[in-house]
């Protein structure tokens, strides 16, 4: 009887330990914990480039007359909001070393430039500005994503 009880106790302890360890393992493997600052910087870089490409495509479709000014502006606004959210994340990240600091600077510079270009494009779409023209802005946006690819190491 006591042997069976001891067995049961052992099994219960094993289950309790596994139940306690599992959440810890899972929580420590969440991206922010696992990848630290470099991982978060890389994530924001990808998001920023994706937003820039989406804005570029939106402008291309608008220029080709396939899109309305209204939806193009919504698409630019969404892209800008995504970059701004990333900017806030990156600006608040504590850099661990010189490499991270350099990546952070590169990202922030590129993001500032993108935000300015997207805001300018929005003004052009609204008719509030005539210069620079959309092809020029598209070129600048493409250039920023290329710079990010080249200089972010």
């Amino acid at each position: 009887m006591s042997h069976r009880r001891a067995d049961r106790l052992r099994r219960l302890t094993a289950v309790a330990v596994a139940t306690a360890i599992l959440p810890v393992l899972v929580l420590t493997s969440c991206p922010d914990q696992r990848d630290g600052t470099p991982g978060q910087l890389a994530g924001v870089k990808d998001d920023t480039q994706s937003a820039a490409r989406a804005a570029n495509l939106a402008l291309q479709l608008w220029s080709a007359g396939r899109s309305t000014t209204q939806i193009a502006r919504v698409q630019l606004g969404d892209a800008r909001d995504q970059v701004v959210t990333g900017y806030e994340t990156v600006a608040a990240l504590p850099a661990d070393d010189a490499i991270d600091l350099n990546r952070q600077r590169t990202l922030l510079t590129a993001m500032s430039s993108l935000i300015a270009d997207l805001n300018t494009a929005d003004m052009v779409l609204r008719g509030a500005l005539t210069i620079p023209q959309i092809p020029v802005l598209r070129m600048r946006i493409t250039e920023t994503t290329t710079i990010l690819d080249r200089e972010y190491r």
Partner: protein, 409 residues
């Protein structure tokens, strides 16, 4: 002839009403990140919802009562309360996501920001629930939702490399930029989006609203077995559009406006008009269904009078619940919470709640006390058991995968 028309209308409504904001967003996100590598999940999910929706419709038609009423009576208040808690919570998230979806869709067509549209959308949902008849409400939103066929047309207009798309779908491979955990996280999200619990509660309660009897079983089966799979085709088309335009351009979908990019590339402004009508109708229809489902589940659990076939005065508590749910969800959106994020979480939490929703339906559908001779057959039970295992696995893996992948980042 009129019978044939009713069947066709039901099928068309089921196709148009199949998609909601969860399907729209998840399919587009998946297409833009994995191509068609997760296409296999859509038929799996569609088959599952067909199986259980048909079962719930049969229970309602044979017994004349909605699933939740029977669950409480058959399984007792504790089991029913667990079911209610999970379903109601998921429902709240889904109502919030759908209202946000309506607002985001209207924003595509106007200058006003989504926050301006949220109260309007909530008021419109309440007004339709209060004033419009059940059948008219269902058919109008379902038929307008058919505009989403624009995604299917867009796929053809985009002239994709069909061989490549087929290869991605038939021999799924995880892209280098994605991890295995993210792949499975989105598989569960797609599965949850296809099998959202509210669909079954709504289908079952809708059967009672429309006074189905055993004679309507054939129509119900056609609606489900033809309408839902064709609705699933729309899901595949959304993923294919994203896989054709957004994946090669390395654009990951994070907003509703990005879902419009492939449609604009394919069909220009005309296609955009159909897209906006379709998205508004789909999300508005789903907002109606989820809001009604909130009222249905709570009223059926507590034994209150419910249903749109009754005058609001005769089902006051049912209507108050829906009003409170709408106000609460609209208020949550007005805090500035991102509707797309709510949508992404709601489909994953749906997957977690699935066992609590579908196990009771299976038990009731096998009870001769309610079903008489029309209990499930052996084949149907075997299929349902296989699905329950899949549902349990998905539910168990959902939260760990959500944490490990940072909600699919």
């Amino acid at each position: 002839m009129s019978k044939l028309f009713a069947v066709a209308l039901g099928v068309l409504t089921a196709i148009g009403g199949f998609l909601d904001i969860g399907d729209l967003v998840t399919n587009a996100v998946v297409g833009s990140r994995f191509g068609m590598a997760l296409a296999w999940v859509i038929p799996v999910g569609v088959l599952g919802i067909c199986l259980f929706a048909n079962m719930a419709g049969r229970v309602a038609a044979v017994s004349g009562r909605a699933t939740f009423e029977i669950i409480r009576e058959r399984l007792g208040p504790r089991m029913a309360a667990a079911n209610l808690g999970a379903s109601f919570f998921i429902n709240l998230m889904t109502v919030t996501a759908e209202l946000g979806g309506v607002a985001l869709a209207l924003r595509l067509a106007t200058d006003a920001g989504p926050l301006m549209w949220v109260p309007v959308a909530a008021f419109a949902v309440w007004l339709v629930i209060w004033r419009v008849g059940f059948t008219v409400m269902e058919n109008a939103t379902g038929l307008l939702g058919l505009s989403l066929i624009v995604f299917v047309i867009s796929v053809f207009l985009l002239q994709p490399d069909w061989t490549q798309l087929a290869n991605q779908a038939m021999a799924p491979a995880i892209p280098e930029s994605e991890s295995g955990a993210t792949y499975w996280y989105y598989a569960i999200a797609l599965f949850g989006a296809a099998m959202t619990p509210y669909e079954v509660f709504f289908f079952s309660s809708g059967a009672v609203e429309e006074h189905w009897t055993v004679e309507d079983l054939g129509t119900s089966r056609l609606n489900v077995l033809v309408g839902f799979p064709l609705g699933g085709l729309l899901s595949l088309a959304i993923a294919a559009c994203a896989a054709t335009v957004l994946l090669p351009a390395q654009i990951e979908v994070t907003s509703l406006s990005e879902i419009a990019l492939p449609v604009l590339a394919a069909g220009g402004k005309l296609a955009l008009a159909f897209l906006i009508i379709g998205v508004v109708a789909a999300t508005f229809g789903a907002a109606l269904e989820t809001t009604l489902s909130s009222g249905y589940t709570l009223a059926q659990f507590f034994g209150w009078a419910w249903g749109k076939f009754r005058r609001p005065m005769a089902a006051a508590r049912f209507h108050v619940v829906m009003l409170v749910v709408l106000v609460a969800c609209a208020s949550a959106l007005c805090t500035g919470v991102d509707p797309i994020a709510v949508t992404e979480y709601s489909v994953v939490f749906s997957a977690i709640a699935l066992p609590l929703t579908y196990l009771p339906i299976l038990i009731v559908a096998n009870d001769p006390g309610y079903m008489g001779e029309r209990v499930n057959g052996a084949v149907l039970n075997a299929a349902a058991m296989v699905y329950l295992v899949v549902i349990l696995l998905a539910a168990a893996a959902a939260i760990p995968l959500m944490i490990v992948t940072g909600a699919g980042q």
